[in-house]
Symmetry: C2
Subunit: 450 residues, 2 copies
């Protein structure tokens, strides 16, 4: 798959492009090199230009990352770190600290004072707060600044922060409170001597939303605001409402992606952080859910044991009962997934959930009738017993309708009581569909067949 095919062309600045682009792809190659030839892996790292070094390293999987930085001299690392935005810089050093506290400390001491200040400010925020994704490098102007003063500020900013793109202009009052966010398309149409005050009053900027979030705002909320208001950038303020930094679109791409990945992993009974950390922490995070699931499975096994005598008399029941339970698990899982998605997209909540629950019961019931019919025919052909076919058909219809009910109710209930609907839903569901499936099938069999 060549770039040509998709017309990803570096039209003019190809030299500059090559140096700055696609750290992700370089990291993937590096990862393969690590697995085949560690020597050339370290040789390759030593060759990377400073501008790009940290951006590539941060993309490496955690086990490789831990080794990759270790052979880079502190001084070189400090110089390379200066090319990162403040949020990435903080994130990088925090990751290094997990593997080698001394290395992180020595490197920190070699950074510029303003970088140190940014790190100590940003590292107070946890990964689920807006502050952790805030770049402190930004261009702001005061209300009284004229356009020509702003131009001078742009020139200075570009010299001091050559790696930090200026997307929009943040306008603040004398106490650093955010007053507006100006797009440069607006600025370009005004005169040198117009002040920001004048420009804000006149600019026709319905698409420039001077929205802000607090550094402590949950990151879930930040993502939601970006999507609802279709923002490319948002201002971050402190608890005195003063401008502190900005969060930009490229972080939002990552955040949406990670939010979704995390949800998918949670539903399967594991955890994004744990998976990234090490084999052992991934294993433990997963084991946790296996144990909880075992409790559920023992309940299902207990229900089966109640019908031991029935099974002894008709062993075909043991052959068929996994089908009833598994089909219920399938239908329930479809309902859980659809409901968790609707909750994540804020399409439903507890108050308008009834149509969703009804829909899932109807879908489960109708599909239950179809599957029940098919399975009863299979059963009849296999075991030549009409009544057994009837029992399994009824059991499947009931179990699949109930699976639709429980599959949609469980995430809604968990959400209502303040939990994360993705985490425990599939688990609770499996218990429900297994237990109900066995109970209905074996119970009916005992009544009708024995």
């Amino acid at each position: 798959m060549t770039n040509m095919q998709y017309n990803v062309k570096n039209h003019h600045h190809s030299a500059v492009e090559k140096k700055f682009k696609q750290p992700i792809k370089i990291a993937r190659q590096l990862q393969q090199q690590y697995e085949t030839d560690v020597g050339s892996f370290f040789a390759e790292i030593a060759r990377f230009p400073l501008e790009n070094l940290c951006k590539i390293l941060i993309e490496l999987p955690s086990d490789i990352f831990g080794e990759a930085f270790s052979r880079i001299p502190h001084k070189k690392m400090a110089a390379a770190l200066s090319y990162l935005a403040s949020d990435d810089l903080t994130d990088f050093l925090q990751r290094v600290k997990q593997y080698d506290q001394d290395y992180a400390k020595s490197t920190y001491c070699l950074l510029a004072p303003d970088e140190q200040a940014e790190i100590s400010h940003l590292s107070q925020f946890s990964a689920d707060q807006a502050g952790a994704y805030m770049q402190m490098e930004l261009l702001s102007a005061e209300l009284t600044d004229t356009l020509s003063q702003v131009k001078q500020k742009i020139r200075i900013f570009r010299k001091e922060e050559p790696n930090s793109p200026i997307f929009k202009l943040f306008v603040v009052d004398a106490e650093q409170h955010l007053v507006g966010i100006l797009h440069f398309t607006d600025l370009i149409l005004f005169d040198e001597n117009d002040t920001m005050q004048t420009i804000i009053a006149q600019a026709t900027i319905h698409h420039h939303k001077p929205l802000s979030v607090h550094a402590t705002t949950p990151v879930e909320k930040v993502i939601q605001i970006f999507e609802e208001y279709e923002l490319s950038i948002i201002a971050v303020v402190n608890d005195k409402e003063q401008l502190q930094g900005r969060i930009v679109f490229e972080d939002v791409y990552d955040l949406i992606r990670m939010q979704e990945h995390n949800q998918a992993l949670k539903m399967a009974g594991t955890d994004y952080e744990a998976e990234e950390e090490s084999l052992d922490s991934a294993r433990k995070a997963r084991l946790h859910w296996l144990f909880i699931n075992l409790v559920a499975l023992c309940c299902a096994a207990f229900i089966v044991s109640l019908y031991k005598d029935t099974i002894e008399q008709l062993v075909a029941l043991a052959v068929l009962m996994p089908i009833v339970a598994a089909l219920g698990g399938n239908v329930g899982n479809q309902a859980v997934t659809v409901t968790v998605r609707k909750l994540a997209l804020h399409q439903i909540d507890w108050n308008n959930a009834f149509p969703v629950i009804k829909r899932e019961i109807v879908i489960g019931g109708i599909n239950g009738m179809i599957m029940g019919g098919v399975v009863s025919i299979i059963t009849f052909i296999w075991f030549q017993q009409i009544l057994l076919g009837l029992v399994i058909a009824i059991a499947i219809i009931i179990n699949l309708a109930v699976a639709g009910l429980t599959g949609s109710m469980i995430p809604l209930l968990i959400k209502k009581f303040g939990g994360d609907p993705a985490i425990a839903s599939p688990l609770l569901l499996t218990t429900a569909t297994d237990a109900i499936g066995f109970f209905v099938f074996l119970g009916l069999a005992e009544i009708i067949l024995i």
Copy 2:
């Protein structure tokens, strides 16, 4: 949850803000209104300002959307549609067409000729092509244009397209080939008489990537380019490499979200499009997978039936066998989810898959030993049979290690043979873990216990 809490403030232009913001939220309210009081639902729709009408309607779930537009006069609808960007306009009319071809046709005829041309151009692209997400409204300048000519173009564009934000300036040559993309932060620092040619040559714009995609480029690839290059905007060109339109960040937020949602739904055995369409199409999409799963389940049932005599002699096996199978299903599902995610993030492919497979086998094996130990103790306490405890422990260890192997291999194999690893993986997995679980457990029991 008030806006204040998150400091989502409308600093200055609050009147303008209110009119333009958050169609999603309004749509949610409208949806509730529809369910409780259809009369007030239509009254509310009639009251919306033209600027906002279509943006709200498009956010409604499809079953409500189909009714919502029907009472709006064609002329009003045509006027409201003019406030949409060309891609959304096309999308809107295509959705209307699904419900009422005549309504769509009559409205189309009332649109301005340039809008009609844009629609007929854009509607040739399918939903998985870049062209479908392309806005044709954009500001471009030629190389020979001076900055003051560009300013004039901005003024004209703003008058003609008041609802279309200008993010960057596309610079083309005389044949409309894309030459560069300029940020207005660059433009503002130059003189009135500088041409775009001069500015491109001098601007220090390492972060302005003049990347482009073809209108026929798969949308998956477009998303990948946006994320890899951290773009806010990309140019779309035709097959003669001439500038056609742009795709912007706000569509990328949606696209990433939908890509992930679609994947999650696929893994659960349903489909995003089908779920959005109607209850019946959702039900059929789900039924499809239940049938395929049934084939798998019959294989598992067949394996159980091979050991009917064994179960008859020791009915505890029927009680315990769901535990062995379900734990395998769990471990396999964890492995499938992690592997599908890694494939989606392009972190692995077939060639460097060995460490991933090994990892999953090790995790499955170690957790198998722990769960096997616990279950054998439970079994011993429950049934007072040491050998039965031993059999179930061995079966669980083998099944969980094999579940790690199959769970990671299945998505990799499907991907290798050109399939979508999300779609059939969980399904094939269930067959594997059920069948292997029953086979190992009952087979061992027959050898050791009977």
